[in-house]
Subunit: 237 residues, 2 copies
Amino acid sequence: MTMASDGADKALVLCSGGLDSTTLLARMVARYGREAVVALRISYGQRHSRELAAAEAVAAHYGVPLHTLDLASAFAQSDCSLLAHGQDPIPHGTYAEQGAEEGSAPVSTYVPFRNGLFLSAAASMALSLDCTVLCYGAHSDDVAGSAYPDCSLAFVEAMGRAIELGSGGALRLEAPFVALTKADIVAEGSRSGVPFELTWSCYEGADEPCGACATCLDRQRAFAANGMEDPAQKGRD
Amino acid sequence: MTMASDGADKALVLCSGGLDSTTLLARMVARYGREAVVALRISYGQRHSRELAAAEAVAAHYGVPLHTLDLASAFAQSDCSLLAHGQDPIPHGTYAEQGAEEGSAPVSTYVPFRNGLFLSAAASMALSLDCTVLCYGAHSDDVAGSAYPDCSLAFVEAMGRAIELGSGGALRLEAPFVALTKADIVAEGSRSGVPFELTWSCYEGADEPCGACATCLDRQRAFAANGMEDPAQKGRD
């Protein structure tokens, strides 16, 4: 509940194993030093463990402690297609092709209030570890109309206020990518030497990314927009 | 993610086993009918299981389904005195006697961002169960200066906005007691026949309430303000 002993900030970064949160981790390690950064990965009953393994590899790369939380029980009753017990397959195509637009219902891979739960659990752990900053890699592409309402700027602002108020001002939320695109994040990550080959984005858990789910398509476009090849996709070419 | 099939509201009530959330449950059962209400209790590594047993007895009394979540892992690193692994004893005396005042640090029984985490997990479960309303029994006495910042009106408003936004408008938060005192809640519960004898408030887990912790003192005052005897305290007299 207290600041780090020297009064300096200490950051907890929510790490999914994807390239957005990995680039965010790189930024925070550069800003605060790796001694003042911890990573948190969350198991929530997702279909595969590749992203959890990726988060571990990324934390090891940056030399920061990695904590793990299991929140699967909160989604035991959900029928979301992203969950291991979900009955529906992962849809193919972009979010727009799945019908996501302003005012539409969330897509079938929306896990109910998942990011709100992740941020709250991360806030609890951050306060327990005397962190003063909680870092979240949401970006504007993930809003995708109304595909993922828990990635929007308005949502992040409301959660940030709840976290500041509910912690008595001991913790603040930072989501510096919330107005950026995934292409912007690839550009920043490329400049700062992010090991993209360690990251995992695909919703499926095969040996290689499927190349057809919405997050694979988003990732392909983000690298293409930077005139880059995705090192995690090289095995497919 | 959808409304109940007939378009009517369905409510999930966070039930701690205490008298506030029990009175809230009574209000929601009266409003929506017990077929449209579910209760959720949360295990979080608290010192004792008496409040979990009380929540079960209360749900059975009202004939509503009871769900249980275990979120203890989020607090594994916390040194809060309310937790089973906490090293410090539960303090005696009122929150004011513990130094709580406007702008002070939270009291030692503040579990880091606990209520934010509870509300988020409850939101995830509520959406999975097709609920449209999430009910939270926070009241003004629990703010107690800055003793529990995650009970304040401002916090509840921020979380309510986060839940509405992050669920794409599918779920709303109701905290109808947030501006009331515990004495007001005892008055309402008394009028509506709440079985106060089934509820448990004490932070300790002895056979009888300790009568000395802040929540016991709050409860005693709330009954006294109504000229009532607390049925859960009868064994002590």
